[in-house]
Subunit: 187 residues, 2 copies
């Protein structure tokens, strides 16, 4: 089991630092008293402020109706320490099991949304539905991150990046090219 | 300078293998006889078949009008061997320079679109505009990958994943969890 991570408030306009690299995320939701978690790799940052993130949530997922009805979710960032849990969450359905119980995960109360945060993840981003124009045709939801929580360390956790076919790439090593940027382009 | 990569045809329904991990990509375009290249990190896979990819192309980019007008582009995948070039392409504008010439890149003729492919990249995905419903409000384009070209090796090239602030994470090391998947879930 992975330990719970203590997290600090983080600026919502800067969540790209964790999501733009394209990691697998765990999306948690709550509807009519029940919670669920899904594994998701199809997402993109869309805007800094408001802090917008696009998620493609396939209609076959038990989470789809829960998120569509509640108009909320939490995007949680797992690290490689949670690899097996990430896979198991992706390969089971919330229609049959309670994933928090089944996988020994701790639900934490979010501040702005009813969906629970996953304590064991490195970061949790509370999201409210911002735009549903492409949900019917493409299952594409645009959420606004309304509150962000990030663990203080490590600064660049090892994250999982799915290639399909049961294989993940791992990010964590970094390359800095700050010297090639003009000062006004850096945060 | 990076060497040109010889590429093979690749199934368009499987481009998620290269794009789902969330790498920085180089988007090339052509309009009214001029070509351009931009660096882009805000993208997501949306569907296997048709092979759909969503790109957020900020309106401030010189490429925006070229891509909007031509309704085409090529998504090229650079590796860490091209790190400095990736940064320089992102920090200059096609309004002032010819990026193929300036950065010593080789334009290759695509099969299905007029936009050029970048020879030095590991993969090139020819794209045609599929949906522009969210372009006005969110600069979000949905493209169909109509032809894919991928270098035969390495199987998992080192790719760049941008965190903002001049810092990239590097993916390349892999973790396989094929044993945790049911056979019908694997390709």
């Amino acid at each position: 089991m992975t330990r719970a991570m203590r997290k600090n408030d983080f600026p919502v306009s800067q969540v790209r630092r964790y999501l733009e690299p394209g990691p697998i995320v765990l999306v948690s939701s709550k509807w009519q008293g029940k919670t669920n978690i899904m594994t998701l790799g199809w997402h993109t940052i869309l805007e800094f402020s408001p802090s917008l993130v696009g998620l493609m949530i396939s209609g076959g997922n038990h989470s789809f109706d829960m998120i569509r009805s509640s108009r909320e979710c939490v995007i949680n960032l797992p690290t490689t320490a949670m690899t097996d849990t990430v896979v198991k969450i992706g390969n089971t359905t919330g229609a049959e099991i309670d994933k928090f119980v089944e996988f020994g995960l701790t639900a934490d109360v979010a501040q702005e949304v009813a969906a629970p945060m996953i304590c064991e993840c490195h970061a949790s981003f509370e999201c409210r539905l911002h735009e549903d124009a492409l949900v019917d045709r493409y299952n594409f939801f645009i959420f606004e991150v309304v509150k962000a929580h990030v663990a203080g360390s490590p600064k660049h956790p090892e994250t999982l990046h799915y290639t399909g076919d049961g294989v993940f790439m791992v990010s964590g090593k970094i390359i800095s090219r700050r010297s090639l940027f003009k000062p006004e382009m850096l945060g």
